[in-house]
C-alpha cells in the first residue's frame, strides 16, 4: 500500500533517525512511503483560533497533494501529525474556516477528504501488529520499555482519536509485538514541557523529570517516543535511561537498523 509521507522539518535535521528508520521499517512491512513534494513546515503547533488561517495552509497543501494522489497521509513526528490532523478536522467541521482556506487553494478546493494517519496507526490499522510481530528478526527479549506518548499524539482526543487518551496502548502493543516488555506508567501521557523549554527551561525540566522518574519507578530501562521535542526535553533534563525514537527500535527488531546504504 502507498502512503503520502510528510516528514517535517525536524526529521530532515535533528531527528534524522526518526525518519530513516521509519522509511526502512515501512519497506520491510510492504508499505511504500512517497514523500510529498515541496512540503512545507507544519509550524509545530496548531492554533485553535478559528480565524487563524495562514499558519495552517502548509498542512492543507500537504493534505491536498495526498488527495490528488488518492493516498492517505502519514507522518511520524507527533507534532506534524497533530497539526495536520487538527487542520483536517477544522476543514471538515468548520465551514467558514474551509471557505477561507480554499481562497488560497488554486483550482480544486480541498474539503478534508484525505485520511490522516500517524505512523503508529498505520502499523496498527494497515500493517497490523501481528504482521509486525511476524517480521521481527531480532526480538527485543527481556527489555523493559516504557512508551512515552506526551500530549500531541493523543490530545485533543475528540480530534486525534488514536487511542484512549488516559490509558493508551498502541505503543505498548508495538513494544510487545517487538518482543519486549511494555512498562505502563501513569505519566506517559503527561506533557514534557514542550516548546516552553525555549523560554522557561526550569518548567520543562520539572515536567520531563516527572515523566522519567515515574517510568523508572515502574521499572523502565528505556523510553521510546515519537516526538523530537519530547526526546530532547527528556534527555536534556537528565534522563538517565536511554530515550530513543520508536522507529529506531522498530528498525532494530526488524533487522534493518544497521543497513546504512541510504
Amino acid at each position: 500500500m502507498k502512503f503520502s509521507y510528510f516528514p517535517g522539518c525536524t526529521l530532515k535535521n535533528k531527528a534524522k533517525d526518526l525518519d530513516i528508520y521509519a522509511r526502512r521499517s515501512a519497506e520491510v512491512l510492504g508499505i511504500t512511503l512517497e514523500e510529498i513534494e515541496n512540503w512545507q513546515c507544519c509550524g509545530g503547533v496548531f492554533s485553535t483560533a478559528k480565524d487563524e488561517v495562514a499558519t495552517k495552509l502548509s498542512s492543507v497543501r500537504a493534505l491536498k497533494e495526498a488527495k490528488s494522489k488518492d493516498q492517505p497521509l502519514v507522518s511520524v513526528c507527533s507534532a506534524c501529525h497533530n497539526v495536520i490532523k487538527q487542520t483536517n478536522h477544522a476543514i471538515q467541521t468548520d465551514k467558514e474556516f474551509a471557505d477561507k482556506v480554499n481562497r488560497y487553494m488554486a483550482e480544486e478546493p480541498y474539503n478534508g477528504e484525505t485520511q490522516v494517519y500517524h505512523y503508529l496507526e498505520m502499523l496498527r490499522d494497515v500493517a497490523g501488529f501481528d504482521a509486525v510481530k511476524a517480521k521481527v528478526v531480532n526480538p527485543l527479549k527481556g527489555k523493559k520499555i516504557a512508551a512515552y506518548y506526551g500530549c500531541l499524539l493523543l490530545r485533543p482526543n475528540s480530534v486525534m482519536k488514536m487511542d484512549d487518551p488516559e490509558n493508551p496502548k498502541i505503543m505498548e502493543d508495538l513494544i510487545k509485538a517487538m518482543g519486549a516488555d511494555a512498562v505502563v506508567y501513569a505519566n506517559r501521557n503527561e506533557c514534557c514541557g514542550g516548546y516552553v523549554s525555549f523560554e522557561s527551561p526550569e518548567l520543562a525540566k520539572k515536567k520531563s523529570l516527572a515523566v522519567v522518574e515515574n517510568a523508572k519507578a515502574a521499572g523502565a530501562e528505556m523510553i521510546i517516543t515519537a516526538c523530537p521535542l519530547c526526546k530532547y526535553n527528556l534527555i536534556k533534563n537528565g534522563a538517565d535511561i536511554p530515550v530513543v525514537y520508536f522507529t529506531e527500535l522498530l528498525a532494530e527488531a526488524l533487522g534493518v537498523k544497521e543497513d546504512t546504504n541510504e
Binding site: 517535517g8 522539518c9 525536524t10 535535521n13 535533528k14 531527528a15 513546515c41 509550524g43 509545530g44 503547533v45 492554533s47 485553535t48 483560533a49 478559528k50 480565524d51 487563524e52 499558519t55 513526528c77 507534532a79 468548520d94 506526551g150 500530549c151 493523543l154 490530545r155 485533543p156 482526543n157 487518551p165 488516559e166 503527561e190 506533557c191 514541557g193 514542550g194 516548546y195 516552553v196 523549554s197 525555549f198 523560554e199 522557561s200 518548567l203 515536567k207 516526538c227 523530537p228 521535542l229 526526546k231 530532547y232 534527555i235 536534556k236
Partner: protein, 128 residues
Amino acid sequence: MNKEYLRDEMLRMSGVNPKKCMKCGKCSATCPAYDEMEYHPHQFVSMVEKGDIEPLMKSESLYRCLTCFACVDRCPRGVEPAKLIEAVRLSVIRQQGANRLKADDVPAKLDDDMPQQAIVSAFRKYSK
C-alpha cells in the same frame, strides 16, 4: 477597551462557551504549568466570561500554557479552556510590535541538540 467587545471577540475566536463551566476546577487540577501561572485555566474561563480580559492580556500566564490539551480532554463539561488561553494570547501578539520572541533573540537560546520543532513552535506561540 470595551469589556463586552473583548469578550465576544474571545468567544468568536475560540469557539468556546464559558457558560458551560460548572466550576469544578479539574482544568486547573490537571494543568502541568499551574505553578508557573499567575492566572490558572479555571480563571481564564471565569474571567473571560465576565469580560475581565485585560489583566489576562497583561499576564505572563499566556506564555506558560503548554498547549498540551489536558484541560480540554479532562474537562467534564467540554469547555476547552486551552482554546480561550490561545485566543487571549493571539489577541495580544497580533497587536503591532507585541511580538514576544524576536528573531534576534533566538541564537542565544539555542543549543546544539534543540530540534527545529522547538524553534518553530515557540515562534508560532510567541510571535506573529
